[in-house]
Amino acid sequence: MNNPLVTIDNLTVRFDDRLVVDRVNLSLHRGDIITIIGPNGAGKTTLIKAVLGIQPATSGRIERTKGLITGYVPQHLRLESTLPLSVRRFMLLSGQPLQACEAALARTSVDHLLDASVHHLSGGEQQRVLLARALVRKPDLLVLDEPAQGVDINGQAALYELIRQLRDEFNCGVIMISHDLHLVMAATDKVICLNQHVCCSGYPADISHDPAFIETFGQSVAESLAVYHHHHNHNHDLSGNVVTQNHASPALEGTPRGCQHDHH
């Protein structure tokens, strides 16, 4: 149970001469929600591709549990307009039976879109269909690349809440990239601030006081985040009703770890 799903040990990735990911360590267990934040070009996508097992390391080690089923929610579904595709057909391409596909769509509240064309979905609908596509495979590990992109502000909160609920239902590990700092701070267990290397990592409440975080995002962002974060003792369902729930926080290293070197 306590074996990590994915362990990343001293991972370095270079594209040609450019250093993209610099000596990153990370371990992800069942029940964890880890959010990667960081400026553009910080190597976030490369790091989660390594977690997905589709990005070879230049040096370091990526270890995934044998037989790990990964659900991947990409940033977009950039589909050629020449390819006709309904949500039904897209879901069935997972190789799962229709019933399971319908159940997954219902879980992300988009079952009414079964016969819609994938081309005509709004940003939020597309994200939920992609999430359903990941869920239908009953993943041990859920990897999301900016899941709330193109989703309006109310939808964003609901989406992050849904991800938390799915974590509890499937008892899976979750790792995601996000730019929605306020929402991330409230809805995640552990934050990794990436800027090629891990700037700082730890609980959301602590990280906003971390000097390295303030260095990366600026004083004003850090201060506003400290205000926004509050501890949840309840959850909301998609209609906004309060759902009481107590799940133990997964064991983490705890205190944030600052950088051991200077920032320029």
Partner: protein
């Protein structure tokens, strides 16, 4: 057997049988060309076919085999080159397409003892199709259709979202190679029909026509076959009655069908397509 024999003894029916066989594989493969934006890639492979012909004369192997080998070689080279991003893919394709065509023409001019019909190679010589060509076409068709059915889900998934497919365990790279090999084969067998300059049209036009009416990828592939059949049958009839060149007539008919479908079905399907 005698009926088939009689039919195959007639050049017109041979041409029709060959054309339909090509349309049968050009339809579904053409869908992938359209979906993956590989039109220019198809052109490049087709142009290299002429180089393949020159090489087959040089080392005396059957023409079809020479063309397949050259296309496969070029497809692999393209795959390797395109990983190195110093040149944009369309620039690279443009360089290789026209260089292959030019080298082919130059090489053929060095072999005066080889008497070949250049117009036939460039624009097709459907009416000169012999039984051996038919064997190549139907052998290729059976092989390609079997491969397409076998790997359909993986091919489609890697077309929709390459990384998602990779995460789900689809061997994306190997399927890309397979697709290129299938293109090489279809070009080798279709060359005789419409010629190297018009092969891409036979891949793209029926698929693009089908897009207007299809709601699923499978429907689109099936409809592309139907529109290919219409193009071949109509084109050959036109060629027969009006004494026009067969290959271009097939393309003209396919194009007319495309215009007709988009003009008439446009309003009907605009909201649902």
């Amino acid at each position: 057997m005698t009926i088939i024999d009689t039919i195959l003894n007639d050049f017109f029916w041979r041409a029709l049988a060959g054309g339909l066989g090509v349309a049968l594989i050009a339809g579904p493969l053409g869908c992938f060309v359209v979906w993956r934006r590989m039109a220019y890639f198809g052109d490049t492979l087709a142009h290299s076919a002429l180089l393949g012909i020159a090489l087959s004369f040089l080392i005396s192997v059957p023409l079809n085999l020479g063309v397949v080998i050259t296309s496969v070689f070029l497809a692999t080279a393209l795959m390797l080159f395109s990983r190195n991003k110093t040149l944009a893919t369309d620039t690279l394709l443009g360089i290789l397409a026209h260089s292959a065509l030019a080298i082919g023409l130059v090489a053929l001019s060095f072999m005066p003892e080889v008497r070949i019909d250049l117009t036939g190679l460039l624009f097709g010589d459907l009416l000169a199709m012999n039984r051996n060509d038919l064997l190549w076409i139907y052998g290729g068709a059976v092989l390609i259709l079997a491969l397409l059915i076998m790997f359909w889900r993986g091919l489609l998934m890697s077309t929709i979202h390459e990384e998602l497919a990779r995460v789900e365990g689809v061997p994306v790279e190997r399927l890309r190679l397979l697709l290129m090999l299938m293109f090489a084969l279809v070009i080798a067998v279709a060359m005789k029909m419409v010629g190297v300059l018009l092969i891409t049209a036979m891949l793209i036009i029926p698929a693009a026509t089908a897009r207007r009416l299809a709601r699923t990828p499978e429907q689109m592939a099936a409809l592309a076959i139907v529109f290919g059949f219409i193009g071949v049958t109509g084109g050959l009839s036109m060629s027969w009655h009006l004494d026009t060149p067969a290959g271009p007539s097939v393309v003209v008919t396919a194009f007319a069908t495309f215009l007709f479908v988009y003009a008439t079905a446009g309003r009907l399907w605009a909201r649902t397509g």
